[in-house]
């Protein structure tokens, strides 16, 4: 499958906002147009290049119309032949890359503009200032969580981490702090990151427990913002740029269970299935991967993701984290944009664009101060949705490369 016939040729990431009093508050549509504009400019294209082609829209939590992808086409003044709409949370961006590649390979379209934005700090809801959309809090799924004392993602993920610490004793909080502080270091080198001031391991350890064993500095800062990318056929990519970023391989696992459906082992994610598939399709081994962009909603998820990709054995994540140097110039560059932990999370669904956009930035050699030298192959994760009592409804693994 590694034919270099599908490439990403443009990316956009808007400035993020914490929606502080006095700031101009942009709507989701404005962020979408802003991110699309940045992506089009980086590709040397215009919006009319997508008439008769494809438009992909990631589901946001901010209120929108029922047939939102078509409405977004209307808002942008584009008349696409096909629409993609992903509702896979933090796996939406990578899911649409897979769908777009299939459409391009099938000859249905030549190119797809993929956009996503959200304004979780500006959703009218029962909990002003928090990402609590009406649709997140309705249905049987919610009715059997909220009333039972489940207080959102941090409590849900705390259960996963606690279980991990039980099954694999010896994980120290300092080890998770290494991931958090490494991300902050990279954020200091990314002008668009929301938290750029230095953070020490002591700062991390001193942050208060929110929901044991997850503390404040294990959590992502929520922001408003938007991202976009452009994917085209190989032929078009070669005409547009001398730096296409090729889709080398992908793997996808939805509703993955490790063990029995009724009583699964929640310490292994769907990447155990999707990552080997992506690497096999790409024809790469672990040593070929020059940098790793996980969906870092919590530091321990970055660690579990590295295990499930097979960089080390299950349960050896702590040792791996302690032994490796995650800085852009280290032996295992990790979350080189600062990730969501220090970069900001523009809603869980749109945060999933960040690993992809950063990987393309690295492979185009545009990462400035944080550029990974001689980066050829990058690994990207999409991680979306929180199933009942488990982590990660959708786990998507992507391998990108810049050699043709």
């Amino acid at each position: 499958m590694n034919k270099n016939d599908v490439a990403i040729v443009g990316i956009g990431r808007t400035p993020y906002s914490r929606a502080k009093p006095g700031e101009r508050i942009y709507t989701v549509d404005e962020y979408i147009a802003w991110a699309a504009d940045l992506a089009l400019k980086s590709a040397g294209m215009g919006k009319d290049d997508f008439n008769g082609q494809g438009l992909g829209v990631a589901h946001a939590e901010a209120a929108h119309t029922v047939n939102w992808s078509a409405a977004t086409a209307e808002t942008l003044g584009i008349s696409p032949q096909i629409l993609l709409r992903a509702d896979q949370g933090g796996a939406s961006a990578t899911a649409m890359l897979i769908r777009a590649a299939a459409m391009i390979r099938a000859g249905v379209v030549d190119r797809v503009l993929v956009v996503g934005a959200d304004t979780p700090l500006s959703i009218p809801s029962a909990a002003p200032g928090l990402p609590l959309s009406p649709e997140r809090t309705r249905g049987t799924y919610w009715d059997f969580q909220g009333p039972f004392g489940v207080m959102g993602a941090t409590a849900q993920f705390a259960l996963v981490l606690q279980r991990y610490m039980h099954q694999f004793p010896g994980l120290r909080f300092e080890t998770l702090g290494k991931i958090a502080t490494s991300n902050r270091y990279h954020a200091s080198l990314h002008p668009g990151a929301i938290y750029r001031q230095p953070m020490s391991l002591d700062n991390y350890m001193a942050s208060r427990m929110l929901s044991d064993p997850i503390r404040l500095l294990d959590c992502v800062p929520i922001v408003n913002g938007g991202l976009a990318y452009i994917v085209t056929s190989g032929e078009t990519a070669r005409k547009l740029t001398d730096r296409p970023v090729w889709l080398k391989g992908f793997g996808e696992a939805n509703n993955y269970y490790h063990g029995k459906r009724t009583l699964p082992d929640i310490t292994t994610t769907g990447f155990a299935s999707s990552a080997p598939a992506a690497m096999q399709m790409a024809g790469v081994k672990h040593d070929d991967i020059d940098f790793f962009q996980p969906y870092d909603d919590y530091p321990f998820i970055s660690m579990m993701t590295m295990e499930d990709w097979g960089f080390c054995k299950k349960g050896q994540g702590a040792k791996f984290v302690e032994e490796r140097n995650f800085r852009f110039d280290g032996d295992f560059p990790l979350s080189t944009d600062g990730g969501q932990l220090s970069g900001g999370q523009p809603g869980g669904a749109i945060g999933g664009f960040m690993p992809l956009v950063e990987a393309v930035t690295q492979l185009r050699g545009e990462a400035d101060q944080r550029q990974v030298k001689k980066a050829r192959i990058g690994a990207v994760c999409g991680f979306g949705g929180i199933p009942y009592g488990r982590p990660g409804r959708s786990c998507i693994a992507i391998v990108l490369g810049n050699e043709g």
Binding site: A126, A127, P128, G129, L130, L132, P134, T137, R138, T140, Y141, W142, D143, F144, Q145, G146, P147, F148, G149, V150, M151, G152, T154, A155, A158, L159, V160, Q162, R163, H166, R208, M209, L210, S211, D212, P213, I214, R261, T262, L263, I266, Y388, G389
Partner: protein, 141 residues
Amino acid sequence: MIVSNENKPLPVITDQTRPFWTAAKEGRFVMQKCQACGTFNFQPKPWCIECGSRDLEWAPAKPFGVVYSFTVSRSIAMNLAGWQDEMPLVMCLIDLDDGARMYGQLTDVDPETVRVGMRVAVHCESISEEAGIPKFRPHHD
């Protein structure tokens, strides 16, 4: 989302889930049992997630289990201030003796003494005119 007068989340009760809430209000613990393969499903499902049979019936379940994992929530999330009275709140994943896993609060316990594998028993609390909810407390067989 419905919120109680105490500013805690309440379920939207449907015909599918009413037997669960009514039972808990009356102090009984029931789960959906697949009549084809015997699997207990939780949370409620439209068919059995093991065998796909739609023949699910609410049936009495053994009100015992063990702590599969737990967290101690120390501050309010989602602005539901009603939980403040119960901080720190111990919320668990419980592996029930009948082979299903559920979220549940652990009460009557010092949070520092909670451990994975701890034996627990169901007790029910009323949360509204129509609904009760199962919670757990430590149990010694």
